[in-house]
């Protein structure tokens, strides 16, 4: 079992990041090296500056707000939470002074960020069970939502255990030792993170996150990188 845990926590993490970075880069190059379309693809009336409106469309989803307001609320919640979770994970590498302008215990959001993400993910999942979105969905859409839900719930419960239940067998310093060792290519797995107790939740979290990273470049999650350029086409 130790070998499996070691594989998930170290070689598989490198492998997953490798697939993520290499796969995403290759896919982006493939897309953007194609010839430009010979004519404009915009929708009128035109609003200028187009790039600013493209940013607005990309980050605030105004068309969703207009046509599916409830979905928009959950989309905004989810994407904001995602941003906070990314910041939180960066803080697990080392303390970031600029983020500590708002003094907080890692993660930001006192545990509620994970909770809100889960609620949003459940909403996204259940709306796919209803017609007509059900007929429009493909297995990938469900798999990704289920995978994200599991990643967030296993990750969040570690945060909740520490904050809400005082279960502090793993603290931030253990994560920092582990993650910075990965970053500096001197991988170490502290004993606190590799046991069969509560820390096994972390192993599952890392395993699922690895799967997500491997699947990322080949899935619809590429919209994270493509939303801005595609919206720019519409804005002209």
């Amino acid at each position: 079992m130790d070998n499996v845990i070691y594989f998930i926590m170290i070689p598989m993490v490198y492998l997953s990041f490798g697939v993520f970075f290499f796969g995403t880069t290759v896919r982006l190059i493939r897309i953007f090296q194609g010839p430009k379309h010979p004519s404009t693809l915009q929708i009128y009336p035109q609003k200028k500056p187009a790039w600013l409106y493209a940013l607005y469309d990309t980050f605030l989803f105004p068309t969703v707000r207009k046509h599916k307001p409830l979905l928009w609320v959950f989309l905004i919640i989810f994407h904001l939470c995602l941003l906070l979770l990314i910041i939180g994970h960066l803080e697990l590498f080392s303390e970031i002074a600029i983020i500590q302008v708002i003094p907080h215990e890692v993660f930001l959001g006192a545990g509620y960020v994970g909770l809100f993400s889960l609620i949003a993910l459940l909403y996204f999942l259940f709306r796919r069970f209803r017609s007509p979105v059900r007929e429009l969905s493909v297995p990938e859409d469900y798999y990704l939502l289920i995978l994200l839900f599991l990643i967030v719930i296993f990750g969040s419960q570690m945060d909740w255990a520490r904050r809400w239940y005082g279960y502090s067998s793993i603290d931030v310093e253990h994560y920092r030792a582990y993650l910075s060792s990965l970053l500096y290519l001197k991988p170490e797995l502290p004993a606190e993170l590799s046991g069969m107790g509560h820390s096994f939740m972390l192993v599952i979290h890392v395993f699922l996150a690895n799967l997500f990273l491997i699947f990322f470049p080949f899935s619809q999650t590429m919209h994270s990188f493509l939303a801005l350029p595609i919206n720019k086409l519409r804005r002209g």
Binding site: L71, P132, V133, L136, L226
Partner: protein, 417 residues
């Protein structure tokens, strides 16, 4: 389908994969926000008419043959083989889509379903499964461009017969041609459709404005674009570009034809002339005081149908409203935002397919009928041949009891000195 045919079709598919097309193929999350965007779905309520459903018909073939996971794990994205059944699906998707791009206004990413349907149409051409009539019409246009001398005499005779009608609307100075043709150095080249209704009112307007204009030998409509053949689209377009260059005109004015205007405006590239629609030209004449119209000519409330290729996809939104503000005091908008005006249901070649598509066109444009009725208008103006035909068909079918009029005809009929 034999492997060789499939390979050839996949080559055609590959030829469409530019940057924009790949973005449209890769980005969709199937969120369903576009559900209510399509007039066909809104009128008929069948899932296959939702924009993303149409897009997926093309996207699933893309996943199968152009993405690694189509080979490793095809079921995860429901990747599909390109076979006879797929061609049937492509046909249904492409020829029930009018290319109005209303779904782009809804989509959080702005995915262009018309672009994706252009792949479907190209594959159908490759498989010789496209609507034959559209290809025939495109070929005829190209042939006319190649051998203009054969058509010239008949055309000139026909135009001569129309001049008296033009003079009835606006008397020209003695010795001046009511419909000048092949005038080198004219300021404006007018490209009409094959039909007196497209030439007479426009000619009267140009003459009233004192425009130095000339009529094109070619008709504006681009059947190559309807059938989705990029080579034919370009050949048909180039006939007009070459003529404009030969005559050294400063402006090419396209008649009331949405596709012709958009193709000319957006695909002709950088040229020594500008491209305008007849609607823009009429608005300019009114603004500059070069023509005057009688506001009492038309009785009853007036509404305007924005042709998709001219308004949402071409940017001509204010000009028709400006013209109508000179023709009526009772103008009624059919949608608070022109981007949301429903498609008439006749674009994308559907009207050109005539009776074959009539039943579908009537069923699929019910929302347009409701929109027009809600205005209480007695006159429904528009600025596109296809839209005019479709709206007239809807008028008869649903007994809308409106007069469907071309905007250019309204201007010509209301001209005053």
């Amino acid at each position: 389908m034999d492997p060789q045919t499939r390979d050839e079709l996949l080559k055609l598919f590959g030829s469409k994969l530019n940057e924009a097309m790949r973005l449209y193929l890769e980005t969709c999350t199937r969120c369903g926000v576009c559900t209510e965007a399509c007039h066909v779905y809104a009128s008929m309520g069948q899932t296959r008419y939702i924009a993303v459903h149409r897009a997926e018909v093309v996207r699933r073939i893309y996943k199968k043959y152009f993405k690694a996971r189509g080979k490793i794990w095809p079921s995860v994205g429901e990747a599909k083989e390109l076979n006879e059944a797929a061609l049937q699906e492509l046909n249904e998707a492409a020829y029930s889509c009018t290319g109005c791009r209303r779904c782009m206004v809804y989509c959080p990413f702005g995915i262009d379903t018309q672009m994706l349907m252009s792949i479907a149409k190209l594959l159908l051409i490759g498989a010789h499964a496209e609507p034959e009539i559209l290809s025939l019409l495109a070929d005829t246009s190209i042939e006319k461009g190649k051998s203009i001398e054969l058509f010239k005499e008949n055309f000139l005779e026909g135009i001569k017969r129309l001049e008296a009608e033009v003079v009835k609307k606006w008397r020209t100075e003695a010795g001046e041609a009511a419909i000048p043709i092949a005038v080198e150095g004219a300021d404006l080249l007018y490209v009409a459709l094959a039909g007196a209704h497209s030439i007479i009112p426009a000619a009267a307007g140009f003459n009233a404005a004192g425009e130095k204009w000339t009529l094109s030998f070619f008709e504006a409509v681009n059947f190559g674009a309807f059938v989705g053949d990029p080579t034919k689209t370009k050949l048909i377009l180039e006939r007009i570009v070459d003529e404009a260059k030969r005559l050294k005109v400063k402006e090419v004015c396209i008649c009331e034809c949405g596709t012709a205007y958009r193709v000319m405006k957006q695909l002709s590239g950088k040229q020594p002339f500008k491209v305008s629609s007849i609607t823009e030209v009429h608005a300019r004449y009114l603004r500059e005081g070069r023509i005057k119209v009688d506001k009492t000519k038309f009785k009853g409330p007036v509404t305007y149908h924005d042709p998709c290729q001219i308004a949402r996809n071409g940017g001509v939104i204010d000009a028709p409203r400006y013209i109508l503000s000179h023709l009526t005091d009772d103008y009624r908008e059919s949608a608070p935002d022109a981007r949301y005006n429903w498609c008439c249901g006749g674009g994308g070649g559907l009207v050109a397919l005539g009776e074959d598509t009539l039943d579908f066109r009537m069923k699929s444009a019910k929302v347009k009928v409701d929109q027009v009725k809600s205005t209480g208008a007695a006159i429904l103006a528009t600025a596109c041949e296809n839209c005019h035909t479709q709206l007239s068909n809807l008028n008869d079918h649903y007994k809308m009891e409106v007069d469907v009029l071309f905007l250019s005809s309204m201007v010509a009929d209301a001209l005053v000195r």
